[in-house]
């Protein structure tokens, strides 16, 4: 036995001589707590992504008639990933409560459609929402292990004539939350109404950028410098774009 070995053994033994060994039950509790936090974390992440509609602030995508010089939406969305199916299509999300019968769903749809500020209304089923999230997290499948389509909410995705009119849509369906931590109170069958643009910005953009920019185009990993410059050129060519940083 070498000198260093024996000394290290004495060190380890002496240092832990008075250590208290916690009950195994305490270790088990710690493990279960940790697992619950993890599950809650992945659920919250999925919820945030669903709420965001996987959409970037969509002003750059070509809307017929809005930005005649913008290229096809696919160009922008390929560069700007999170290729949200809703990219450029919707400004607001109306999430339905867990159990809404078809008649009630139709009534909510009609009520949204009837609003002056609403341009178009799309329905997204649980399965469609799940498929979108699955594509987004194809590299992190472990996040979805405990989540199935049934965990996804149904939603209407609403395109407004002008995204600044979100408030009119909101007030037609909900009353604002009271107090900082209060929850929105919405008509029966509606769980939540969220502003896609407002929901996405803080997810994707550092807060410092919020003050300086109106929207972000996120490039996927592995984008080459040439591709980056091509995207920049395309962006700068768009009417109404004042600067690209």
């Amino acid at each position: 036995m070498h000198d260093l070995d024996t000394r290290l053994e004495r060190l380890a033994a002496d240092a832990t001589r008075d250590a208290v060994v916690p009950e195994p039950e305490a270790i088990a509790r710690r493990g279960r707590r940790r697992r619950r936090r993890q599950l809650a974390g992945s659920a919250a992440l999925v919820a945030a992504v669903v709420a965001a509609g996987l959409v970037l602030p969509a002003r750059l995508a070509d809307r017929p008639g809005d930005h005649p010089v913008a290229g096809p939406a696919t160009d922008v969305s390929e560069a700007g990933m999170l290729t949200g199916h809703w990219f450029g299509k919707a400004d607001a999300s109306v999430f339905l409560a867990q159990h809404v019968d078809p008649a009630r769903r139709q009534a909510i749809h009609d009520r949204i459609q009837a609003l002056d500020v609403v341009d178009a209304v799309f329905f997204e089923s649980r399965q469609e929402a799940y498929d979108r999230v699955k594509v987004l997290y194809r590299n992190r499948p472990e996040l979805l292990v405990h989540v199935g389509p049934e965990a996804m909410p149904e939603s209407f995705r609403v395109r407004l004539d002008n995204p600044a009119h979100f408030k009119q849509l909101f007030l037609a369906l909900c009353r604002p939350a009271e107090g900082a931590s209060g929850k929105q109170r919405c008509i029966r069958g509606v769980d939540l109404v969220s502003d896609i643009q407002a929901a996405v910005k803080p997810l994707l953009i550092g807060k410092a950028w919020l003050a300086r920019s109106d929207l972000a185009v996120i490039l996927p990993g592995g984008t080459t410098a040439a591709e980056r410059e091509a995207v920049r050129a395309r962006l700068e060519a768009i009417d109404g774009v004042r600067g690209v940083v």
Binding site: D3, R7, L11, A12, D14, T16, D18, A19
Partner: protein, 162 residues
Amino acid sequence: MADDGFASFYASSYRRLLGQLFAVTGDLAEAENVLQEAYARAFVRWPRVGGYDLPEAWVRRVAINLAAMADRSLRRRARALLRLGPPPLVPELSPDLIDLRDALAALPLGQRQVIVLHHLVGLPVEEVASELRLATGTVKSRLARGRAAMASTLQLDWSEVT
């Protein structure tokens, strides 16, 4: 708790692993924290981890990795220290062991890890390498450098031991 072997595995290995982690971290509270976290992770995966040849090696590897992560967040710990005051005193040790602990703690983490795994846990160089996902040459050079540094601090000659 159902008796699926976790409790007895835990009771039989805790103190030994704690000593090893103490040698890596140089701080008993930190060693307890990462070790208990590692056992907690083993507990929730026990159906799998319990089937391994050496669940103890799994727990040790997780704890050593956690210790390395904690080591890298020095700034966070510095803030916590400001907030909470000095860390609790380490257990009473004889003067030569205090010197040994200090000499060990003065080594870079990478050298401390290989010294503990090789000299305290008793793993051959190849197993130390696979445990830490290092090349065996890296393990050997870290061992040699770590030993040399400790020997000069402690004014001893360990250059011949392997």
